[in-house]
């Protein structure tokens, strides 16, 4: 079955297939889809104009501290309240005892989208409970 050549002026002589028209149910689905599409578009356009492209604003907070076979794990939560996504966010944690740093750990968050949160963990050999734990975002690159 070789379809007719695209360039030949071919008057379709064969039996015409029955043309289907759209049933009411399909129109309802189509209407819903159209609404959803319009909503998505408006959301994106409104977002583009209302949201100032403020730089990433990362805040870190400790979610949990647990023990691991090698020591202790501090799970942190990184919130980006800014209007732009950050890539390769470097997170460092310092344990201080009376003002002197006794241990540091680092982690990298690959992507931290705007107005979103991601989690990560820092391993320590000393127990963070009872010591001063200081979390800091050190830097990022633009995705």
């Amino acid at each position: 079955m070789r379809p007719s050549d695209a360039h030949a002026q071919d008057a379709s002589g064969g039996a015409e297939p029955a043309l289907e028209s759209t049933s009411p149910v399909e129109w309802v689905i189509a209407g819903l889809s159209g609404l959803l599409l319009a909503a998505t578009l408006s959301y994106m356009v409104i977002f583009a104009f209302s949201e100032p492209r403020t730089p990433p604003a990362v805040t870190l907070s400790v979610a949990t501290v647990t023990t691991t076979p090698g020591g202790y794990l501090v799970v942190f939560r990184a919130d980006n309240a800014g209007g732009a996504a950050a890539a390769g966010v470097q997170v460092s944690g310092e344990l201080r005892e009376g003002g002197t740093v006794v241990e540091t750990s680092q982690a990298t968050i690959d992507y931290l989208p705007q107005r979103s949160e991601r989690r990560g963990g820092l391993f320590f050999t000393r127990n963070p409970e009872g010591l001063d734990l200081n979390l800091r975002a050190e830097g990022y690159s633009e995705p």
Binding site: E20, Y111, Q114, R115
Partner: protein, 263 residues
Amino acid sequence: MRGLGRAFAGALIFALPMLMTMEMWRLGFYMQPLRLALLLVLTVPVLVGLSRFGGMRPTAHLRDDLADALVVMLIAALAAAFTLYLFGILTPGMSPREVVGKIALQTVPGSFGAMLARSQLGGEPEGEREKQAPTYWGELFLMGAGALFLSFNMAPTEEMVLIAYKMSAWQSVGLAVVSLGLMHAFVYALDFRGGSARPAEIPAWSVFARLTLVGYAIVLSVSLFTLWVFSRTDGAGLQEIISASIVLGFPGAIGAASARLLL
């Protein structure tokens, strides 16, 4: 109902490579919202056009094609949301912007797939439904759609820009020539099913200039558009942009040629 199921399957088959591409998830949130909106808007007429040339069912009116295009987009969005959720890529703690962006971006390839599912995986045997032979403009449209579909697969990846960096100017020129040659050969020389035999009265150079050359120009424009949509051209020099367009135009040319064969 079975048609909807088929569309869902098509959306999965054609969009899976992109659903499982890391860059696509990231683009969902760092892509410029206006460009994403423009991409979604442009998807509708392309789907309507594809529906004319194959699509879910033989349609009587343009408004039926529009209905199909919208239905297919909804199905693609559902398929994308469902799959991304199963993959654990949509999680609580993500902003609405991120979730909407990720799903909306995947809707584009998914809806293409869902629309193609009918023409490629349709239940009725080939030939029972006489295909309308596309006009010249129809052929150009199909080439553009084919190029868009294939370049959409590749454009989000880092490799496009990386390959462009690695290629010398001569290699870029060579790739462009090879793309052109393959495009022509796919349709006219290799005698695939659906290929076109050149009518004897039209000289070879005419077919080459009117279809292959124009087609490649469309492919390059589509490549450039796709790169721009994905912010790959921002801050890039002219030479780099041209080079990346040629690299992306290679799969685009294959896609354009296959679209003429398949649809």
